[in-house]
């Protein structure tokens, strides 16, 4: 058995003639944070949906804890401990923190046929879990709509961990956040990893990814440009590898030439 918690080997996904993903390989150990970097249209969304079990890969294999598996549905992926936190977070802003935390997985009490939603227990767990990440929920029955973007992101991640995630797939967790809020979320992600989770952090923001990532996979036009350990690559190199780099260089040259002609 390998020491990888999860491996995605040579994953490819086609939509008709379009090659959305080609031979993407990612391997994660416990406690590791891998950052998946790519510009818009690089195939990040397709990859996330493949990891989450929404799409089935057309080629390649998924190995979870040494066993080759196929995800037929998002539920399959979740049952294997791979939890995806999408950008919309699957939170209902009109509902309370507790009701969101346990949405679809409510703790129950009482005799059969008269089981009720154990709201006291749920409140307690929700407040406790939020407290652990440093969010003091004075009133767990307050609506999620009153929370900040960072707090909501943390709530969604905390919920995934509470319900048994081993691998967290985070879709752009910081993109809608300000600098300060983003740093709080990133701190929490590092903390989660240090407790033994593997984290796949999908982002287009190198400045957010670089400080927290152990390794970096760069995606460009559906293909992986390789995976790099943190010590083997610099922030600038990563930046230039993402679609922007080459093109910006080209643009610079072109602009210089234009200037010269003028």
């Amino acid at each position: 058995m390998s020491d990888y918690l999860v491996q995605f080997n040579n994953i490819s996904k086609f939509f008709g003639k379009v090659i959305a993903l080609k031979d993407v390989t990612m391997k994660l150990k416990k406690g590791e944070i891998m950052c998946l970097l790519g510009d818009n249209g690089a195939g990040k969304s397709t990859l996330i949906k493949t990891l989450a079990g929404v799409h089935r890969p057309d080629e390649g294999e998924i190995i979870v804890e040494g066993k080759k598996t196929i995800f037929d549905s998002p539920k399959d992926a979740l049952d294997m401990g791979i939890a995806t936190v999408y950008q919309d977070l699957a939170l209902v802003s009109l509902m309370s923190v507790t009701r969101n935390f346990f949405m679809g997985r409510e703790p129950m009490k009482g005799p059969p046929f008269f089981k009720t939603f154990d709201i006291e227990k749920a409140n307690k767990i929700a407040a406790e879990r939020m407290g652990q990440i440093g969010i003091d929920v004075r009133d767990p029955s307050q609506a999620v709509g009153t929370m900040s973007g960072g707090e909501r992101q943390c709530l969604a991640i905390s919920r995934a961990i509470y319900f048994g995630a081993k691998v967290l797939v985070l879709d752009e967790p910081t993109s809608a956040l300000g600098v300060h809020q983003a740093s709080v979320v990133l701190k929490y992600i590092v903390k989660a990893a240090s407790q033994g989770l593997a984290v796949i952090l999908i982002t287009h923001n190198v400045h957010h990814a670089y400080p927290v990532g152990n390794s970096f996979t760069v995606l460009n036009r559906g293909k992986s440009l390789g995976t790099y350990e943190k010590k083997s690559i610099s922030r600038e190199k990563l930046l230039s590898m993402m679609a922007g780099g080459e093109e910006l260089n080209k643009l610079e040259v072109e602009l210089q030439e234009m200037n010269r002609k003028n």
Binding site: S93, L94, M103, G104, R105, K115, I135, G145, T146
Partner: protein, 375 residues
């Protein structure tokens, strides 16, 4: 407050950053969806207490009268509220009332079925109609407004056409004789707590007829149904898993789906709920009147939705309360009867209904902004 507060401690960060205020008990109460309707109901009672206090509106007979009207509306308003919290509309409630009425009357009168069998038949048809509404909305993803609007016409048209085809007319009388000794009909047709009223009458505390029996004979069945339904639905919403799923389905369909809430099943069950509530309404009225009318229930769907909105339901779903809808129905019932006791022309009732709804929507909209955007 500047650099120093942004310490490394995450905890302090959030607290300072969010500038959390202490939330008072009053504020929590203000955030309850049914508060507006409760306040409205109190205002309406005070108003009529002053204007019509000495007219008999608040005699036992008068109270039961407006409670009966409120309860009938309340039964469908509660179901409509549940569905609205689940994120959908049902415009076919009124047509379902007419349809359920003839589903009871025609088999009982023309086909010789026992009354209890006709009633069960009507409820089975309600489950079918509700299921059909639900499955259409869930499968096609079309707005329920459109799907149930179509059902409004289909059901009303079918009710008229079938009744005329089978009976040659649009009303089916003659049910009253069948109620006695029926094993099921009493649930929808019996006044309860008669002994209380007999006793009150014997003590000369309430008005009597010339033969010495009290004018108000007992609590009408609609009121009992209304109270029981209000309690059960409130319990479901607040205390059960299914209740949480209703809020989730209405609040964010995709999000709920992503975390494993069976949104489709929840919505279908709520559509069945409105159709069944319409049938309870119809059964009570048909047995009370002793006849079914094809036009019964016309426009009731809009009154039910109005009561649900006054009760705090958002038109976008995910927020509201069943008890609020019950208060909404109480407001409408009280005013519609109260106007009768005052000298005001009853035509003004609709004006009031509209104005009340408008105020409620503006108020609800404000509340929702408070709840969702106070980041």
């Amino acid at each position: 407050m500047s650099t120093k507060s942004k310490s490394i401690e995450t905890k302090t960060d959030f607290n300072q950053d969010e500038r959390l205020k202490k939330v008072s008990k009053l504020r929590i109460l203000l955030n309850r969806p049914e508060l507006g309707a409760l306040g409205g109901a109190i205002l309406v009672f005070i108003f009529f207490g002053i204007v019509a206090g000495d007219t008999g509106m608040f005699s036992a007979y008068g109270v039961l009268n407006f409670l009966d009207v409120s309860a009938n509306l309340g039964i469908i308003a509660i179901a409509a509220a549940m569905l609205m919290i689940g994120g959908e509309f049902d415009l076919s409630i009124g047509s379902m009332i007419g349809f359920a009425g003839i589903c009871i009357a025609i088999p009982a009168i023309y086909w010789g079925w026992p009354l209890w069998m006709s009633i069960i038949f009507a409820f089975s048809m309600a489950v079918l109609v509700g299921y059909f509404n639900g499955i259409l909305v869930v499968r096609t993803g079309l707005p329920s407004f459109i799907v149930t609007l179509a059902m409004l016409f289909i059901l009303r048209g079918a009710t008229l056409a079938l009744t005329r085809l089978i009976t040659g007319r649009t009303q089916v009388p003659g049910l009253r004789v069948l109620i006695e000794d029926d094993p099921l009909a009493w649930i929808f047709a019996t006044d309860t707590f008669k002994w209380v009223f007999t006793w009150l009458g014997s003590m000369n505390l309430i008005a009597l007829r010339t033969d010495g029996t009290p004018l108000a004979t007992g609590i009408p069945p609609s009121v009992i149904w209304f109270i029981v339904l209000a309690i059960i639905t409130t319990w479901i919403l607040m205390k059960t898993r299914y209740g949480n799923w209703i809020f989730a389905s209405g609040g964010d369909k995709n999000g709920a789906n992503n975390v494993g809430v069976p949104v489709g099943r929840v919505k279908i069950s709520l559509f069945i709920g409105t159709a069944v509530a319409a049938t309870i309404f119809a059964t009570i009225q048909v047995l009370d009147a002793g006849s079914a009318d094809t036009m019964r229930g016309t426009l009731k769907e809009l009154e039910a939705i109005a009561a649900a909105v006054v009760g705090g339901c958002l038109l976008t779903g995910g927020y509201g309360s069943a008890i609020g809808a019950a208060f909404g129905a109480l407001i409408f019932g009280t005013v519609s009867m109260g106007i009768f006791y005052t000298d005001v022309d009853t035509d003004w009732f609709k004006v009031f209904l509209g104005a009340m709804m408008l105020i409620a929507v503006i108020f609800n909209n404000y509340i929702r902004r408070k709840v969702t955007e106070s980041k």
